[in-house]
């Protein structure tokens, strides 16, 4: 025992310990006060019904009720689509929702649904209202009424058909799961694309060309714009009717390609956010790759050139391996940043986008805690969020580590 203290606090180690306290103390203390302690309080809040307006909070019973609400998810089989699908929805069951064109046409020409769920019309509506345009939706306001009593607290997050059967992913809080999926969508698109693009740009501006500094500056300049400011400009550019981006698309393709609805469309809103985010962020990774490229000794290229390697081979067998560590750094940090996605979403689609297609976990936590006053619930979302990102980065790190082990 005494030896332990002697070792820890005596002599050289003791002096180091004192200096560590003096020099590292401020940072560690501040981290504890402003990061760790709030996080612990967040853990505590997540088991209460704390509200934003300061009304007294009580501990939930059971304490994990918020987590139960967030994490409960299941897969169930839905009843088959009946032959005669009603237009207006019962409280639970199938109903018909139509695409706008189809609906306008049907309203005008009174169509009927055929045996196979297609639409029979007197005229060319039939083409417009082909099966693809007819969307069968499942309304699950009260699952209990259709023999699914067990899932009364659940809602449909997504339903799909598989081998002729209808299935649904149900969750107590579908919006959280949508947010999680959107986060993965964003990260899976942004991390590889942004990394590849950054590398490409870095190689481009690393050539010995006159004025390359001008181009480096150009590509980096979006990075120094503040997200909340520049997102306002982009929202303007994405306007479907007057936006510059659609105009440019039509101009470049001579009107062959029509622009998109971008932020107004459930399929294009997330891509719009992705494009904008890559535009804003890629310059920074470019600089990091550029730094990595400049560290590769020139003679490696010379040697491989003498060996007869072409440009692609040089890239594949010299550049890439030499950039390995840079690549790891870029991928790890971009992943973490991608999961934090919030600012641009909040400015460009404050309501979470069409069909919640741009809702993210952080957006949802802010929406719950700030807009809806439910601080306790928001804290639980934050805790789950941090846990998920922690797991992802641990997985990434372990992959990196194993690869390095194999290399050796």
């Amino acid at each position: 025992m005494q030896a332990f203290f002697e070792k820890q606090f005596g002599g050289q180690r003791g002096r180091d310990g004192l200096m560590a306290l003096l020099m590292g103390g401020p940072a560690f203390l501040l981290l504890v006060i402003f990061m760790i302690w709030p996080f612990i309080r967040g853990l505590d809040l997540s088991t209460t019904n704390q509200r934003f307006d300061g009304a007294a909070a009580t501990r939930l019973d059971p304490w994990y009720a918020n987590y139960d609400q967030i994490l409960s998810v299941n897969l169930i089989q839905l009843p088959d689509v009946p032959d005669d699908v009603p237009y207006s929805a019962p409280r639970a069951g199938w109903y018909r929702a139509r695409t706008p064109d189809c609906k306008a046409c049907e309203d005008e020409f009174e169509c009927e649904i055929g045996a196979e769920g297609d639409t029979i019309c007197a005229n060319n509506c039939a083409q417009m209202c082909e099966k693809g345009d007819l969307i069968f939706r499942w309304r699950g306001k009260s699952l209990g009424e259709v023999g699914l009593e067990k899932w009364a607290d659940y809602e449909i997050a997504r339903n799909f058909s598989l081998f002729g059967n209808q299935y649904a992913i149900i969750a107590k809080d579908p919006l959280f799961w949508k947010g999680l999926m959107n986060n993965f969508y964003f990260a899976l698109a942004v991390v590889p694309v942004q990394t590849a693009l950054a590398l490409l740009l870095a190689i481009l501006v690393n050539q010995k060309l006159p004025y390359r500094n001008v181009f480096r500056t150009m590509y980096f300049s979006p990075v120094v714009t503040a997200m909340v400011i520049i997102a306002v400009v982009w929202k303007f550019l994405y306007n479907p009717e007057f936006g510059l981006i659609n105009e440019m698309i039509e101009f470049i393709t001579f009107g062959q390609v029509k622009g998109s609805d971008w932020l107004q469309s459930s399929t294009m809103a997330m891509p719009a956010i992705i494009i904008m985010s890559i535009w804003q962020g890629v310059g920074f990774q470019m600089i990091i790759f550029l730094a990595g490229l400049q560290d590769i000794p020139e003679d490696l290229y010379e040697a491989s050139g003498i060996d007869g390697a072409n440009m692609w081979q040089q890239f594949r067998f010299v550049t890439l391996p030499m950039l390995r560590n840079t690549m790891i750094f870029v991928v790890l940090t971009t992943t973490i940043l991608a999961f934090r996605l919030f600012d641009q979403v909040n400015v460009m689609t404050p309501d979470g986008g069409p069909e919640e297609s741009t809702a993210t976990m952080v957006w949802y936590a802010i929406r719950q805690g700030w807009t809806q006053f439910s601080v306790g619930y928001a804290s639980a979302i934050s805790v789950v969020f941090v846990a998920i990102v922690l797991i992802i980065s641990l997985i990434q790190r372990s992959i990196v580590r194993e690869e390095s082990a194999l290399d050796r």
Binding site: A89, N239, P350, D351
Partner: protein, 423 residues
């Protein structure tokens, strides 16, 4: 010893300076926040605060302007932090939530019978929760369809005179179809102010849903929106409303709708009193106000606007009341409403204003507010959720999302919020 002497010196300075500073501050400071929206409202209030401070030898109002877009967020943050000012203004329906959270004190002990008798019934209804009066406002809001008279005439559309002969749903639809024929190439038929964010959608479209036969919350129980906001009547509204966007009559992504109306690119603009001055300047006598259409269950209009309260954190409620009493004086109410085009909250001011007399530009607002078709927004602590849910749902409808699913989502938002209140 030296240090001690220094300390003594400091102590002496403090001892001498303290009474001096106290003496200099013989007026009690009363903190006040207000949302800074229209420039004219800012100017009028600034002037009223200045004059109040000059006139009062008891209290000094210390105002803070907060941009409207951030206002609710900032008030929330301050409430959480226990940092609310003495006097606070907020958009009508938030009063229920603030009362529920215990942030306000009632005004009953202060307000005089005389004043109460002069205030518009709609304002009193808005500020009354659980039989007590919590807030008063200088003005109420007017809501209706601003129209370009020349374009309506060109399309052969009948202009209703008043509430008796207001458009029915069929007539409204026919008018829209007819107007579609006269709008210019780069125009559209009706502007719904989709550049606004937040509260607008609940305020503006809640009444329409009600006129269709639905509602934003079950007014009998106040416990759920199920069956009213997603029932067949509300769905009918949704289908109709969405149709306007599908037919290209309205746009969910306008860039500058005010200019579109001013410059004759759009003949109808669904907006409130706050557009009166802008539109009047641009259109002059060509501007006409059309009352709320009757969608089947009678015409319904929104009401309520920004109003003033005293917070429970206030240490000088008398000073706070003195200020509210001051701005509720007829001259000050008139100064404010002359500027922002809103409906004065005092009957005496209304009656003296030619714009609200029969034949005046804004006579319809007066009638809408006094003839029992004005319905306050849902008086529930869940109002913040209703506001968010309505904003999300109306935007979703405009984008062409499934009507039933959008309204169901709105109901879920509201109901799950009510659940957290009950816990």
């Amino acid at each position: 010893m030296k240090a001690l002497r220094l300390l003594v010196l400091v102590a002496i300075i403090v001892a001498v300076a303290l009474p001096v500073t106290v003496a200099a501050q013989d007026k009690q400071e009363v903190s006040l926040w207000f949302h800074s929206g229209q420039g004219s409202e800012r100017d009028a209030l600034d002037d009223q605060i200045t004059r109040f401070n000059e006139a009062s030898d008891m209290y000094e109002i210390v105002p803070l302007e907060v941009p409207e877009g951030n206002y609710n967020d900032q008030v929330k943050a301050a409430a959480l932090a226990g940092e609310l000012p003495c006097v606070l203004d907020f958009d009508g329906p938030n009063v229920y939530n603030y009362v529920f959270s215990g942030d306000l004190i009632p005004l009953d002990a202060h307000v005089s019978e005389e004043l109460l008798a002069d205030v518009l019934p709609s304002i009193i209804a808005q500020g009354t929760v659980e039989g007590q009066l919590w807030s008063l406002g200088q003005f109420d809001s007017g809501l209706g369809l601003w129209a370009n008279k020349a374009m309506l005439v060109e399309a052969g559309v009948r202009i209703p005179e008043g509430l008796e002969d207001t458009w029915t749903l069929d007539e409204f639809n026919a008018a829209l179809d007819a107007l579609a024929g006269v709008v210019p190439e780069d125009g559209y038929v009706i502007d719904f102010k989709f550049t606004y964010e937040g509260e607008w959608y609940s305020y503006a479209f809640g009444p329409w849903i009600r006129s269709f036969g639905g509602d934003t919350i079950d007014k009998d129980t106040m416990a759920t929106a199920e069956g009213v906001l997603n029932g067949p009547e509300a769905v009918a509204f949704g289908e109709w409303f969405q149709g306007l966007f599908e037919k290209g009559y309205a746009t969910a992504t306008p860039v500058d709708p005010d200019a579109d109306f001013n410059e004759g690119r759009v003949p109808l603009s669904y907006a409130g009193h706050w557009m009166y001055n802008t539109y009047k300047d641009a259109l002059g006598d060509n501007l006409v106000l059309i009352p709320q259409p009757d969608f089947g269950n009678g015409a319904v209009t929104g009401m309520g606007s920004w109003n003033w309260s005293i917070t429970s954190a206030c240490e000088t409620p008398d000073g706070a009341w003195a200020f509210i009493d001051w701005i509720m004086q007829p001259d000050n109410v008139k100064q404010m409403t002359d500027g922002n085009g809103a409906v004065p909250s005092l009957i005496s001011v209304l009656e003296a204003d030619a714009r609200y007399a029969p034949g005046g530009d804004l006579y319809l607002y007066f009638r809408q507010l006094t003839e029992d078709i004005a319905v306050p927004r849902a008086a529930t602590a869940a109002y913040p959720a209703i506001s968010t849910a309505m904003s999300d749902a109306i935007n979703a409808l405009a984008r062409g999302e499934d009507v039933q699913a959008s309204l169901d989502a709105a109901v879920d938002t509201i109901d799950s919020y009510i659940e957290t209140l009950d816990q």
